[in-house]
């Protein structure tokens, strides 16, 4: 609750600051400080210190899982601000508004992570989506950005419609929006509840870009300004996953055997399409869009398994995937050439940045000693613990081996190919990258640093 109210306030503050403050560095300073405070108050709340007592009539509940996932999202946003906030200046004149919109998205993320009523879920998803439509089109003079924004808006609105339809059907079946009561009401199978569940499944799959609802992703991620792609491909996607897992765990938890097979099929399709298509990309930005689809495929395994290690794993996965991808996007944003050739010879020019990039890429590929490995490890462990779906695990690791191909193409370009990719990077940027890489390795050795918060 702390973070929710504060982030709404901060959004308004950022809107005014863009009017009142002339200096962009001051706006940026306020945003970063604000986010750090936001993170702090959220951590305080998870330690039991709450500043606001508001009666929400049981529509939201801030349990440990919700608070930890909010902390992860806020921390990742903080890292994103530190690395990429300066590059947002290049996009357009409305510098302060971008931050304001991001703070509003943060509100949505908090709602999605803590909903106990399907109305809140719907509100959260909408509060996330609408600012994102604007951010996608932030580069107003760029046709691709406009196209992406329009495409995203139309597709997003359509899926939101499906979602509302699903919620309405569930309401019809149970007579309530409340998650706890609904669970009991829809335990007995009925046409309304099954249809509602499927509509919710499809619309959430759309939001996390799971196949076959992924078609918008590459175009939108490619067209959006790189800094915002970084934000929406990581933090937003991970947050929607948190909502997704809560929804199916709490609302439809009883009838798991009914929807489990759907997730197996969707996960396998997502892994296949994401990985195989990523192999053929020439632009790193587009490759990362497909990589985000393939990583979503891995995250879907947690929905298939839906047990303790799946829930621990999804948090670890959200952190590992967000941090590594934000790092890569931050570097990509500074390059002129977004193709693989654009990275040629980077290791010669910027050994520190290249080394950090290697850690990020290894983490995404799931090589041990990085957080990415443990994230994948938890997913596999969760599925194996269910005792079924062994084919899915084997398929997933084969696809993970395919993903090595496109991640390592970047490493090969940086280290083994001749070229003169240059980056104008400040010392602070380099050190932030090194710190981020160190954090990824630290999480890869001691996952308990994160999972600890779930229990203590």
């Amino acid at each position: 609750m702390n973070a929710l109210i504060l982030s709404a306030v901060l959004g308004v503050v950022m809107m005014f600051s863009s009017v009142l403050l002339k200096q962009k560095s001051a706006v940026r300073g306020i945003a970063i400080t604000g986010l750090a405070v936001l993170l702090l108050v959220n951590i305080l709340e998870s330690r039991g210190i709450s500043f606001f007592k508001i009666d929400v009539s049981g529509m939201m509940h801030f349990d440990r899982f919700a608070l930890l996932s909010i902390s992860i999202a806020l921390f990742a946003t903080l890292v994103f601000f530190i690395l990429s906030a300066k590059d947002m200046e290049k996009i357009g004149a409305d510098y302060g508004e971008y931050f304001a919109l991001i703070f509003f998205i943060t509100c949505g993320i908090i709602l999605v992570a803590s909903f106990k009523s399907l109305l809140i879920l719907f509100l959260g998803i909408e509060i996330i989506s609408i600012p994102l439509y604007i951010l996608t089109g932030a580069d107003k003079r760029n046709l691709k950005s406009n196209e992406a924004s329009l495409k995203y808006f139309l597709m997003g609105a359509f899926s939101t419609g499906l979602m509302l339809m699903g919620i309405a059907l569930l309401y019809g079946a149970s007579g309530t929006f409340d998650v706890e009561r609904m669970r009991e009401m829809i335990a007995a199978p009925g046409v309304l509840s099954v249809a509602g569940m499927l509509l919710l499944l499809f619309s959430m799959s759309f939001k996390v870009s799971a196949a076959p609802f992924h078609f918008w992703t590459p175009d939108v991620y490619d067209g959006a300004p790189t800094a915002f792609t970084s934000f929406m491909a990581t933090i937003v996607k991970a947050a929607v996953f948190i909502g997704f897992i809560r929804l199916f765990d709490e609302t439809f938890g009883i009838s798991q055997e009914k929807w489990q097979i759907w997730f197996a099929v969707i996960a396998a399709a997502t892994l296949f399409i994401g990985n195989i298509t990523a192999v053929f990309q020439q632009s790193v930005k587009r490759m990362l869009a497909y990589s985000s689809i393939s990583q979503a495929g891995f995250m879907l395994l947690s929905l298939y398994a839906m047990n303790v290690s799946a829930k621990e794993g999804i948090l670890l996965y959200a952190a590992a995937y967000s941090l590594a991808t934000i790092g890569i996007f931050a570097v990509l944003n500074k390059l002129n050439d977004y193709t693989f050739e654009g990275f040629n010879g980077l290791a010669r020019q910027q050994p520190v940045i290249a080394a950090a990039m290697v850690i990020f890429l290894l983490s995404l590929a799931g090589i041990p000693l990085t957080a990415g490995f443990l994230a994948k490890f938890f997913m596999l462990k969760a599925v194996i613990a269910t005792g079924s779906g062994l084919w899915l695990v084997i398929f997933a690791v084969v696809m993970a081996a395919v993903s090595v191909y496109y991640y390592f193409r970047v490493i090969q370009a940086m280290y083994f190919k001749e070229g003169n990719a240059t980056i104008a990077a400040s010392g602070g940027f380099k050190w932030s990258l090194v710190g981020l890489a160190a954090l990824i390795i630290l999480l890869g050795i001691f996952p308990n640093l994160l999972i600890y918060w779930l229990y203590f």
Partner: protein, 491 residues
């Protein structure tokens, strides 16, 4: 303590090596580090022999059931000694080769050593998997950055092959883990997992393919000749001398005892693959003109014999394999040193372009012939002891009814080995010197030192293998006891 030091010394010195700027200094630093590791390893063999020094366990990833458990059993001692001996030899013998960005090269070499040590020492399945991958990453960078022309594609093929193998193994590890009584990755829990036959039968292949790719066993060997050929020679030494032993160790420590029934029932299938690979690789080796490729194929044949012996499941064979792992490592590193010397001096590895070196470089010829004879497993050389034990093991095997056939077929490879090895010696050292070799120089002091150590080890192990036999005695017994199928079937 010894076990932890063996990992920590190369790890920390390797990380430090990234920050050196002077090539000479980093070279000395790497040599110093490797000698320190060797000293620790020798101390573990002689002075601090008690289990309290050799084993170490501390908490790591509580809740997951994994702990940082490392330890030196007899097999670990042999392999760590091999790693520890090999590195100073590698650094000494390549002292005169210069590398671009040498600090990165030596740092990665040392990190690879840390990874290898970890694989040999890990007594926890998850830790084993960690190190298994960690050993691979530095080697990937080493081969891709300092190798031959086609290095990027070739190394990448190698990487994807081994990565695919290892993630499949990860599934196997996770499956066994989920069926252990106490949800633990500890090796003792794995040994007690006692899985039913129908799960063992598919788990076997998940593990076996990972190890088979690493060793490599036919038909998973296709990455190997290319990778050996394209890598810088120092890395090839690591790959062929030490890294292939990861696969052999995997079979002995993580496959046979964990999945004994499947190992028994698929033993013949695997043995057939091993024999096909041995004969096939030997025949190809005879036709090779490139020294590196010749040695690469010869290595496939030798490793095939180890695999064959492991699946004949008896004590004498296990001991033979463990001793031969050490000997094969020493011998093949000797051969690679020769390749490096010749390539550096003449700029070619083609047998057809060389000749008559014996008159110009007699010391080199003597060393080469001794190592070549060891490669053929002539009596009084180290490989004879190992191969003799292994053949005895295969011949007296009670788990297969084809033991005599297997022995006969495998023994033909000794003849093939003599053909290609002696042919190589003849083409390089005898005949008329040509324009290229007319001005050949003999080897320098540091190379003499490195080769001297190898020759001493060859003769010592060939004449007096008792220390090795003692070292591997207990562990062979215990592996056999856990994986003894007759006993299990009776139960």
């Amino acid at each position: 303590m010894i076990a932890v030091l063996l990992i920590l010394i190369p790890l920390l010195t390797g990380l430090a090596a990234f920050f050196f700027r002077n090539e000479k200094a980093v070279r000395s630093w790497a040599l110093f580090s490797s000698v320190a590791t060797l000293a620790v390893s020798l101390l573990g063999l002689t002075v601090f022999k008690d289990a309290k020094y050799l084993f170490h366990e501390c908490e790591w990833m509580q809740g997951l059931g994994s702990s940082f458990a490392v330890g030196l059993d007899g097999m670990g001692q042999v392999l760590c000694l091999l790693t520890a001996v090999a590195y100073p030899i590698i650094f000494l013998s390549t002292w005169n080769s210069s590398y671009k960005r040498a600090h990165n090269f030596f740092a990665l070499m040392l990190l690879a050593q840390a990874g290898l040590m970890g694989v040999f020492l890990a007594m926890d399945a998850l830790l084993f998997y960690f190190f298994w991958e960690l050993a691979l990453i530095p080697v990937y960078f080493l081969c891709s950055q300092w190798g031959g022309e086609r290095r990027i594609q070739v190394t990448f093929k190698f990487f994807v092959y081994t990565f695919l193998g290892s993630v499949l193994m990860l599934i196997g590890i996770l499956y066994v883990y989920s069926h252990t009584a106490d949800q633990s990755f500890a090796i003792s829990s794995f040994y007690k997992a006692d899985l039913p036959y129908n799960s063992q039968s598919w788990l076997f292949w998940l593990f076996f393919i990972a190890f088979a790719i690493k060793m490599p066993i036919f038909p998973f060997h296709t990455w190997q000749p290319d990778t050996y050929e394209q890598s810088p020679t120092a890395t090839t030494m690591v790959l062929s001398g030490i890294m292939v032993k990861m696969g052999v160790l995997g079979l002995l420590r993580w496959l046979l005892p964990v999945l004994p029934i499947a190992s028994y029932s698929y033993g013949d299938t695997v043995s057939r693959l091993a024999i096909i690979g041995m004969i096939y690789a030997s025949l190809i080796a005879i036709r090779q003109d490139d020294m590196k490729r010749l040695i690469a194929y010869s290595s496939i044949a030798h490793i095939g014999l180890m695999c064959l012996t492991i699946f004949s499941e008896n004590k004498i064979g296990f001991q033979g394999v463990m001793i031969q792992m050490f000997n094969h490592g020493v011998n093949i590193i000797g051969l690679w040193i020769m390749v490096e010397l010749i390539e550096r001096q003449f700029g070619t590895r083609k047998l057809s372009e060389l000749g008559g070196l014996a008159q110009k470089a007699p010391t080199m010829a003597i060393f080469f012939v001794i190592i070549a004879l060891a490669n053929i497993a002539l009596p009084l050389t180290n490989a004879f002891v190992g191969e003799f034990l292994m053949f005895t093991g295969v011949f007296t095997s009670t788990v297969t009814k084809y033991n005599i056939l297997f022995t006969v077929l495998a023994a033909t490879c000794i003849i093939f080995a003599a053909v290609y090895t002696l042919n190589m010696v003849r083409k390089i050292f005898y005949g008329e010197a040509n324009a290229l070799t007319a001005n050949a120089k003999d080897i320098s002091l540091n190379e003499k030192l490195a080769l001297g150590v190898i020759v001493i080890l060859i003769c010592w192990m060939g004449v007096y293998p008792k220390p090795m036999l003692d070292l591997t005695n207990d562990i062979s017994d215990s592996i056999l006891k856990i994986s003894d199928v007759h006993h299990l079937l009776k139960k």
